[in-house]
Symmetry: C2
């Protein structure tokens, strides 16, 4: 076993400064959905550039029509593998703000967790790789490979800047393996390496009726109610058996392999405990699949928000001029978000009640990805995680989407390792987002092994 | 024909002051739905008390758990009929504010209309009766009956204060006929007397899922989406044939009389023109009924607003913890809003998908009313309107609800005359609410005849 004592000593001595640095970054409210926060996006990017500078790397900002990309690299090492770490410095919006116990951009340590928007998604997880590389550089250890970083600021909004820049960055980003820490362990104390992600196709649907709100007394009975028409369309998109009803939707979906299903069946997972954890009376979903299969490897439909009409106190008796919904489909590999968009438009055209007109707005989309379990880098990653967390990782898939991942894998022709340090109950897109502080430290330690083991056994 | 020359001269000379007074009242933002506006409600009530004082009547404020009632009366006249004028000084909320061409509480005269929230509903219409009585008093004309006024401040929110006070006010409000101007003429230039109103039962439905918003990637496929569950329930409440699906809903609904249907068929009404006016591609509604029948005399279901989830810019990938809707049923006479509430609760309990729990909140309700076409006061009212507007009124029903009307008719044992001076396109509950200034003056003139003709031919 390779000697990591100098690295481990350094990590032990820098626990407080590593926490302080995380808190610094978490205090920057880099909400990419909010056009008012453009300045904060810049601050977050600059903070990363400065941090790379402190560890001895010259980072650069790659500008685009949106938050800049942050790029940094160790020197090239001819003949050695190249690993590209991808992460993001933008965070989800914070509403409903009143449900946060402490303000989202004032990180607080409670019960061993650091609470803040972005703590787990993705500032905390992403930083582990900067900190572990800093440890190598500070202790003068010679890297057996080249490490590149690409940290973007638009992941929560569809990664358009990176998508636009990608064709021009092939050479700069060229790598053998992509490393991403932006997801969850299987359970507390049970780390995992994730070999599959779902894709996404996200839309806003608007149903337009009368040219202005109408008095529902005088006009009720004469016109189609846009909010009710919207409800009808939404209700028809998914059957009560949990199946998406768009014609052709399942055509590209490959059946799950028997050995995959068997591997997941052996994982400790209780539907009852999971329902209790989420606070729902019962779990539901597509018939014929287990909960893990439905979350990780089956396409799904969700409504994210409802829009339109009177939303204030008391009652206002109007037929609203329009109503809308934000909705998305999670996709599995081989499903194309563009094709799903066409299927959705065709379905809605067929299912729009008379008396209204509909509008479907594309918000963002990305394909899913499944990684080869026999990748030459997989064994190294398993060993790094085992040493970092003290337990062998299980191999799982994840239901979330990092749409740009599929595009990068395709563009760069590389392998990809999804090494999540988070937990399912971190509340990545919810109020009171958190990240377990010990997992932050364990992630740094696992990452410190990665630079060694990805270069070979 | 009775001589009204002194009255008419007075009305002619006071056109400007009658307009100024209307604008004064319209400038008070008396939005009863908004708890922040309690002070404005008081200002509006006090303005009415002052106006009654100027015309020589002592008005009083009757307090309650909400906006005060304003009451005033001319002296009792033994043996003569008593007429009670009912109106309301509260107005609907103004959102969406950005659609108003001029601010809702800064009345502006454009193209012969006065634009402001409350212009037609009900400040402008209600004031006509104060102004006409002021004309009688200023010209020293001897009233042949007793006129009482009851003007409330909670009509747009269900009239709870008046409902609570009603049992204690039987003596004070005792009357032979109730007069209300809070609705529309049949068309521009074609006045109407309305002999039927629909009732209403208004609810908020909330569907609760997980205890917090969930990341739709990690959890999509495992839980029932509350927004989608809401959509399913809403879609099931009304069939695609426009029929409400609650079991028992139509049990109390009387079939329309043939002579009523014939009378309405003879009215000039074009579905095509109406659709164009509202800006909808086509009219829709319950099969087997004409548009006027569906609006005036058939029960309907409408959704007024959608609540819950992410409503900001861009896309947020959550399964919302809850979603909701504001909804109501318009009822016809003999349908009981309480019974409808029970039917709704039972229906929703039967149609709630697994994995969520529902909550139904009563917001307000009131029964519908149909008036005897052969009421002894009807002929007087027809004559008054004909002289005020220069054209014989048609006899129609109205789709809107003044829930307290049915309660007052029942409590006071009186007849009721619904004499609307507004127009269908006044935008009573929409942005850019208006009232035709000439209809304001014609309404005052018709009202000035009413005090004479209601006392006998």
């Amino acid at each position: 076993m390779t000697d990591f004592s100098a690295i481990d000593r350094y990590l032990q001595e820098n626990r407080q400064s590593h926490l302080d640095q995380l808190c610094q970054l978490l205090r920057i409210p880099s909400v990419s959905a909010d056009p008012q926060r453009a300045g904060e996006m810049q601050r977050a990017a600059q903070w990363l550039v400065d941090r790379f500078g402190e560890m001895g790397l010259t980072a650069e900002l790659i500008p685009g029509a949106g938050p800049s990309l942050v790029y940094a690299s160790t020197p090239p090492l001819p003949g050695a593998p190249v690993v590209l770490v991808y992460g993001h410095y933008d965070v989800q919006p914070c509403d409903p703000l009143e449900l946060w116990i402490t303000p989202p951009f004032e990180p607080q340590l409670r019960d061993g967790n650091i609470y803040a928007r972005g703590a787990t998604d993705d500032k905390g997880q992403m930083l582990t790789h900067l900190q572990s590389l800093a440890a190598w550089m500070a202790t003068g250890r010679k890297l057996p490979l080249q490490v590149k970083f690409l940290i973007e600021g638009q992941e929560e909004q569809g990664s358009e800047v990176l998508e636009q820049a990608l064709p021009g960055l092939h050479e700069k980003l060229a790598c053998d393996v992509l490393v991403i820490s932006d997801n969850s362990q299987f359970a507390p104390g049970q780390p995992a390496i994730t070999y599959g992600l779902r894709g996404i196709a996200y839309f806003e649907l608007r149903v337009h009726g009368p040219k202005a709100d109408l008095h529902s007394g005088s006009f009720g009975g004469a016109v189609t109610n846009p909010a009710l028409a919207l409800a009808r369309i939404l209700a028809e998109i998914q059957g009560t058996d949990g199946r998406v009803q768009l014609p052709g939707f399942y055509e590209a979906v490959k059946p799950l392999a028997d050995d995959e299903r068997a591997m997941w069946r052996s994982l400790p997972f209780s539907d009852e405990r999971f329902a209790q954890q989420l606070g729902v009376p019962t779990l539901t979903g597509e018939a014929g699949y287990s909960t893990l299969e439905r979350r990780w490897a089956r396409p799904t439909f969700d409504v994210h928000g409802l829009l339109g009409g009177y939303q204030g106190e008391g009652g206002k008796t109007i037929i609203p001029a329009w109503a809308g919904a934000k909705l998305s489909f999670r996709l599995v590999p081989d499903q194309d978000p563009k094709v799903v968009g066409e299927q959705l438009r065709a379905f809605i055209a067929d299912h729009t009640p008379p008396g209204v007109r509909v509008e479907v707005i594309d918000l963002h989309g990305g394909a899913g990805v499944v990684v080869d379990l026999h990748s030459p880098f997989m064994q190294g990653a398993i060993q790094a995680v085992e040493e970092g967390f003290g337990r062998k990782p299980v191999l799982i898939r994840e239901g979330g989407s990092i749409p740009i991942v599929a595009q990068m894998v395709q563009a760069l022709g590389c392998d990809v390792l999804l090494m999540g340090w988070g937990l399912d109950d971190d509340g990545a897109h919810s109020p009171n987002e958190k990240f377990c502080l010990e997992d932050y430290y364990r992630g740094i330690r696992a990452s410190s092994r990665l630079w060694q083991y990805l270069a070979g056994p």
